[in-house]
């Protein structure tokens, strides 16, 4: 778990003074060096591995065996990249990712934006753990949305694909209202501070030339802050990986696959193994 890559800050906000933060209980400092490159230092002064990708600085307490996952759309010309900014949530980092993968709560938590009653049915969709990439994928997810994006005018049926390329990161591909045929990319990068506390860094790569940047940020922060109050009240606080505590329905297939995948990788930071 220490060998995974984790987001630890926005690259655009770094300075020479550095930012003190925490990764899995260990204090770290994220800063710029004299050449303008990002550095991450552990509390004991050890230089930690660094990547700068997708607007964020990434690091690891251990020795990552895998390169940071790819998001090919991040190199596609014409997209606008949106640094949404950090939000701290008193919940398990895994709960934050799982909530991001859920569609069924849209009409009740994101009322009149991502969903609305009586359009509450989650149609059948496909979920798989892709062997080659070793990622969780949900495809052919469809949902009626009153205002799917800042660039949407009125209600549309939106198509989604969800991807979990790393235990605390998820990438969402979603119908792009101004450009049918392309996908908008919305990500949730989660920095685990403790097993029940995390900093969440949403980021987006959108085709939208019209909407001012502040509107795009506000839209995504609105959505995420509606989730925050729910996340902070989930019980148990840690994500149960064994059955017995929570009963999934068919709409929760992505969550079931995510939990199974975490368990297969023995990724238990923020998880609860035996139902209590």
């Amino acid at each position: 778990m220490r060998d995974e890559w984790y987001p630890v800050g926005l690259f655009s906000q770094l300075d020479r003074n550095g930012r003190n933060t925490v990764l899995m209980g260990e204090p770290i400092t994220v800063a710029l060096d004299a050449e303008g490159a990002a550095t991450v230092t552990s509390g004991s002064g050890r230089a930690l591995p660094v990547r700068v990708r997708y607007g964020h600085v990434w690091s690891s307490l251990g020795n990552p065996r895998k390169e940071l996952f790819a998001i090919p759309e991040a190199d596609q010309p014409g997209r606008r990249f949106v640094d949404v900014g950090v939000v701290r949530v008193r919940c398990s980092p895994l709960r934050a990712v799982e909530n991001f993968l859920d569609i069924a709560h849209f009409p009740f938590v994101h009322t009149d934006i991502l969903g609305a009653e009586p359009h509450t049915e989650v149609e059948e969709y496909k979920v798989e753990i892709r062997k080659d990439e070793d990622e969780v994928w949900a495809t052919q997810v469809k949902f009626y949305q009153p205002q799917a994006a800042k660039s949407a005018n009125g209600g549309i049926t939106t198509e989604y694909m969800y991807r979990v390329p790393a235990p605390t990161c998820s990438v969402l591909y979603k119908t792009c209202p101004p450009r049918p045929g392309e996908w908008d990319v919305i990500t949730l990068f989660v920095q685990p501070l403790a097993e029940d506390l995390c900093d969440v860094w949403p980021w987006m790569a959108l085709f939208d030339d019209a909407t001012p940047m502040a509107d795009l940020i506000h839209f995504q922060q609105t959505i995420f802050l509606q989730d925050r109050s729910i996340l902070e009240n989930q019980i148990p606080r840690l994500l149960p990986l064994d059955p017995g505590m929570e009963i999934p329905t068919r709409a929760d297939l992505t969550s079931v696959a995510y939990r199974r995948w975490l368990k297969r990788h023995n990724y238990t930071y923020g998880a609860q193994l035996v139902a209590q």
Binding site: L10, Q13, D83, V84, G85, V86, V87, R88, R90, T111, D199, P212, M213, A214, D215, I217, H218, Q221, T222, I223, F224, L225, Q226, R228, S229, E232
Partner: protein, 219 residues
């Protein structure tokens, strides 16, 4: 009327909520407060040297205090929100309007610390927030004994709108509202007003199904 607005700011929400309740249309100008700190940039500092939002612009008038904005909106479109003019009611409205700044400093400070990682002494902010909530709870209980559901009257005034958002969002700063039944009833009464609007963290009341009609003697 143009509002320089941040969607997660309870002070900005006060103005949006007041305008919605009395049917005033606002032109919203989103400000990248977080992460961009646009409120501290040259354009907005020229409008408001205090570097705070909201800012309300209406012709030559520029307001930078949310309390003044509430009074302005009400005076323009719905003066009944300013109270009846009775001495005690006028005094109570002013009392709670001033009190609302304590909520901003304490509950608002705790929320910024816990949510957006702003610096602050979280234990002190939470303690001050709890002290303010207890005072508000006592005030609402006393109003209840006078037969009044709102802070200064039996109808909502700008004082209720000034105090409501930071109170409703106290859990964002790690302060639970469970111990305050009068505050919870008051919050429900405000959320039940016609044309009430939400903000992230403040949910609308769910529509309740009609009571089942039970015929007398049918059970």
């Amino acid at each position: 009327m143009k509002l320089y607005d941040y969607v997660l700011s309870p002070s900005c929400y006060k103005v949006r909520l007041m305008a919605a309740l009395i049917g005033v249309k606002l032109e919203i100008r989103p400000v990248d407060f977080h992460p961009g700190a646009e409120h501290l940039g040259p354009e907005l500092m020229a409008l408001n040297p205090a570097g705070s939002i909201p800012i309300l612009e209406d012709g030559d008038l520029i307001l930078t205090e949310s309390t003044a904005m509430l009074a302005y909106l009400a005076a323009k479109a719905a003066p009944e929100w300013l109270g009846s003019g009775a001495p005690e009611e006028t005094a109570r409205i002013q009392q709670w309007l001033s009190f609302s700044h304590r909520l901003t400093a304490s509950l608002g400070g705790a929320r910024l610390h816990e949510m957006l990682l702003r610096p602050g002494d979280i234990a002190a902010l939470q303690a001050q927030g709890i002290a303010a909530l207890r005072e508000l709870e006592a005030g609402l209980v006393e109003q209840g004994l006078r037969g009044m559901r709102f802070l200064a009257s039996d109808r909502p005034t700008i004082a209720d709108i000034a105090c409501f958002p930071y109170v409703a969002l106290a859990p964002d700063g790690g302060i639970l509202l469970d111990p305050y039944p009068a505050i919870r009833l008051w919050s429900r009464a405000i959320r039940g007003l016609d044309d009430f609007i939400e903000m992230p963290g403040i949910h609308r009341l769910h529509e309740l199904n009609p009571e089942p009609q039970i015929e007398p003697g049918a059970a």
